[in-house]
Symmetry: C2
Subunit: 421 residues, 2 copies
C-alpha cells in the first residue's frame, strides 16, 4: 500500500549531511567562530513597505467588518494584477491575471507541478541542479531505474560546467529513442547552484526545440531580481513562442526576503496546450487550476498584502537596496577570491558564487574534490560552504558560496582566505 | 504526457454551480437581500491574542537581528509543543513533537497525504463526503473506473444517513475480494457536511478493524473544537491502538478563524508502520517528513505565532467565545427549524445543520430533491444553502446549513422560514 518510490530516495540529505559535519566540528572546537556561506537563506529584514502592509492586514483581521476568510485559491486579484503590471507588462509581455497562480512558495509549486503530468515521460534537468526537481520526480515514479552511478534512467542530466560555459547543450539531449517527444525540461536561470545565467539567444534554442518536440519547459526564475546585464532574460516569455511551451516559477523569497513568510507565483499561460491521448487539446492552465482548487487553499492574506507592497514605489526602492546589498557581497567575494587566484563563476547576475576547487598539490589536472575542499574550509578557515557534488555529478570540483550573509562576514571570510595563501 | 486522470473529474464544482445560480438570480432580482448559509467560511475576527502575536511577529521581521528566514519544514518547535501539550497531553494522549507536522491547512494535507501511498489500494469514504477526499484520489489515479452512477470502482462509499444514525457501518465494507487489506479509510468527525458525530464505542470498531486488516484511517478532526458532549472523542488517538493505524488532520480554520491566514497540522505517529513489498516495516512518519521536506517549505512564521497564541489563557478564552457564538447560531437554527416541523440533524457538536428536505406534496414517502429545495430557498426565501447531493449520492434529500454566519442573519432566516409555514 506504500508508494515505494519514496524508498528509492537517498537517505542522506545534502544539507543535513553538512549540518552534521558542522555540528561535530563545533563539538570538538567549541570556541571556533563559524561563518556560514552554505544554505541559501536571506539575512536582511523584510522591506518596510511589506512590514507596514502586514500590520494593516493584521488589523483588518481583528474586526468582523474587515475580516478576510478564505481567499481565492489562485490568489487575490490585487496581487495578481500587480505582478502582471510590474513583472510582465513593464517588460513587454502580455499576461492575463488568470494565468497567474499565487502560492506559498516556488518550492511547493516546483514540487507539485508534476501532479498534472503522466509518470511515463522523460525528465531533463541541468547538472548540477536544485535537488527538489529530481527528488519530486523520484517520489512520483517518473525517474525510471536507478543506475549504478546513482542517477536515474528517465531523469537525464544536461551538464553545465566551465567547459560549456554553464549553458545546457541541445546536443546533450538523448535523441536515440524518440523519448524527447513530450519530455519535461527543467531550466533555472539565474542558476542555482552555479550562479550563472543564460542569454536570450541560448534560451531561444530551448524554446524552439520544445515547440518542435512538444516538450514542456519548467522555467524557475526565482533569482530573476539579481539580473544586472541587459542580454539576460528576466522571464522565458521574453522569447517568442514560450507561452506555448513553458511554465514559469517565481518566488518572493530571494527578491524580498520572504523565506519566512512564504509567497511565490507560477505562470501557466492559456496558450500552453498539450494533446491528450484522445486527440483533444488540453489547457495545462485548467489542470493546474483544478489541482490548486482541490489541494490548496490560497496563501495567507497577510502575506499577499506584503507581496503587493513590494510593487509600490517605496517597496521597489527598498527591495532594490536589499538586492544591491547582497550583490555587493557577491562582487566582493568574487573579486577577492579571483585576486587570491581562485577560479570563480557566477555572482554577476545571481546571489551565488561557484568556486572551482584548487588543483591537487603536484597535479596539473586533478582538482581537490568538493567534499575535501568543504572539509578544508570548515576545519582550516571555519567557513561553511556547500559541496558542488551535492547538487549532482557535474558539481564535483566546485563549491557554492552564497551572497545572502552579512557584509562583515564576507570581510572576515576573505581575511581567512588570505591567511592560507 | 498529461496526467489524464484529471480529465476524468467532473467539470462542475459544487460551489461554482451554486455561485452561478445565485448570480443569475441576483441579476434577475437585483433588490433581493440574500442570506448565505452555504459555504463554510467563518465571519468572526481572529482572537485578539493572535492579532497581538502577529503584530509582534511582523515587527520581528523588520529587523535583521530578529528576522526569521526559512523555518523547519515541519513547523516551529514552539507551536508543535503547544499543540502536544494542549490538544493531546491534556487529554491523556502521549505524543512527541516529531509526530506533529504544521502545514498551511488541512485541505493541503488531506490532498497531499495520498503522495505516500500506492495508487492500487482501495479507498473508503463516508457518503456524503468532503469532495477533496474523492477528487484528490481521482487525480492521483487511485479511483479505478467511473461507474454508470457517477461513482468510482475503487472509491467505496459508506452511507451515513438518518437510517443508520449517520454512523458508517462495518457491514458496508466490501469483503468479497480481499481488497480491504491495506485500504485507506477517510473518516471526518465531527462530520462535514452532516454535522453529526461518532461515539468512542463506534470509532473503536473502526480502529480495531483497521488494525486487523492493515488499513490506514485518515481521521479529519477539523471541527473538533465544536464538540460539546463527553462521549464524543476529540482525537482518534483516544482509542487504544489508533497510533498504529491512523493519521489525524487538524485545522485552525474553524477553531480560531484561520481560513484566511492558513494553518493546520497533521499527526503521523511513529508507531504507524506499513509493511513494504520486501517485508521491511516502513514508518509513514518518515515518508511524510520526506514529502514535506521536498515539496513544502513550512508555513508563515507570523501565522505560526498566531496559532501559538490561541493556546495562551487569553487565546483559549477568546477562541471559546467565538466557538460558542457559532454554536449558539447552530442551536438557534436547529431548534427553530424543528419547531417549524423540519427534520434536522447535526448542529449539536458541529457547526453544520443537516436539514432533511420536506415530503413532496401529496406523497408520504418521496422527498423534494436537494437541488429543488435549494432553488425553493433561493427563490422564495432568498436563502443560500448547500444541496446535500453535492456531497455524494447519500446526501440526496438533504441540505447543509452552516452556523458560521452572523446572528442577525439567522434571526432573519428563521423569520423567512416562518412566513412560508
Amino acid at each position: 500500500m506504500l508508494n515505494e518510490n519514496f524508498l528509492r530516495l537517498s537517505q542522506n540529505y545534502l544539507f543535513s549531511d553538512i549540518a552534521r559535519r558542522v555540528r561535530e566540528y563545533k563539538e570538538e572546537n567549541p570556541s571556533a567562530r563559524i561563518i556560514s556561506l552554505g544554505i541559501g537563506d536571506v539575512t536582511q529584514p523584510l522591506p518596510q513597505a511589506s512590514i507596514d502592509a502586514m500590520h494593516r492586514a493584521v488589523d483588518e483581521m481583528a474586526s468582523a467588518d474587515t475580516f478576510r476568510g478564505y481567499g481565492p485559491e489562485q490568489g487575490y486579484a490585487f496581487l495578481r494584477q500587480a505582478i502582471v503590471d510590474n513583472d510582465f507588462t513593464a517588460r513587454g509581455i502580455d499576461l492575463d491575471i488568470d494565468e497567474v497562480f499565487i502560492s506559498d512558495g516556488a518550492k511547493s509549486d516546483c514540487g507539485n507541478i508534476g501532479d498534472i503530468f503522466s509518470t511515463d515521460v522523460t525528465v531533463y534537468v541541468t547538472d548540477p541542479v536544485y535537488p527538489v526537481y529530481v527528488d519530486s520526480n523520484v517520489m512520483s515514479g517518473r525517474s525510471g531505474e536507478k543506475l549504478p552511478d546513482g542517477t536515474w534512467s528517465h531523469i537525464r542530466l544536461l551538464p553545465v560546467t566551465a567547459e560549456n560555459g554553464f549553458v545546457p547543450q541541445l546536443s546533450d539531449l538523448n535523441t536515440a529513442d524518440g523519448e524527447l517527444e513530450g519530455a519535461l525540461i527543467y531550466l533555472c536561470y539565474p542558476n542555482n547552484p552555479t550562479g550563472t545565467v543564460i542569454s536570450r539567444d541560448e534560451l531561444k534554442k530551448w524554446v524552439d526545440y520544445a515547440l518542435e518536440h512538444s516538450c514542456v519547459i519548467f522555467y524557475d526564475a526565482a533569482y530573476e531580481a539579481y539580473i544586472r546585464h541587459d542580454d539576460v532574460p528576466h522571464s522565458i516569455y521574453e522569447i517568442p513562442g514560450a507561452k506555448r511551451c513553458a511554465i514559469e516559477f517565481h518566488s518572493f523569497s530571494k527578491t524580498a526576503g520572504f523565506t519566512g513568510v512564504r509567497c511565490g507565483y507560477t505562470i501557466v499561460p492559456k496558450a500552453l496546450t498539450v494533446t491528450a491521448s484522445d486527440g483533444t487539446e488540453v489547457h495545462l492552465r485548467d489542470l493546474w487550476n483544478r489541482r490548486q482548487c482541490t489541494k490548496f487553499n490560497g496563501t495567507s492574506y497577510i502575506t499577499q498584502r506584503a507581496a503587493e507592497a513590494i510593487y509600490t514605489p517605496e517597496g521597489k526602492a527598498q527591495v532594490r537596496r536589499t538586492v544591491d546589498y547582497y550583490m555587493q557581497n557577491a562582487t566582493f567575494l568574487r573579486e577577492n577570491l579571483q585576486c587570491l587566484g581562485y577560479t570563480v563563476f557566477g555572482g554577476e547576475d545571481a546571489p551565488y558564487v561557484w568556486l572551482q576547487t584548487p588543483l591537487r598539490e603536484g597535479s596539473t589536472t586533478e582538482r581537490i574534490s568538493s567534499w575535501e575542499f568543504f572539509d578544508h574550509l570548515l576545519r582550516d578557515l571555519n567557513i561553511v560552504a556547500t559541496p558542488g557534488v551535492g547538487f549532482g555529478p557535474s558539481g564535483e570540483g566546485y563549491i557554492r558560496l552564497t551572497a545572502f550573509g552579512r557584509r562583515e562576514d564576507y570581510e572576515e571570510a576573505i581575511r581567512r582566505f588570505e591567511m592560507i595563501k
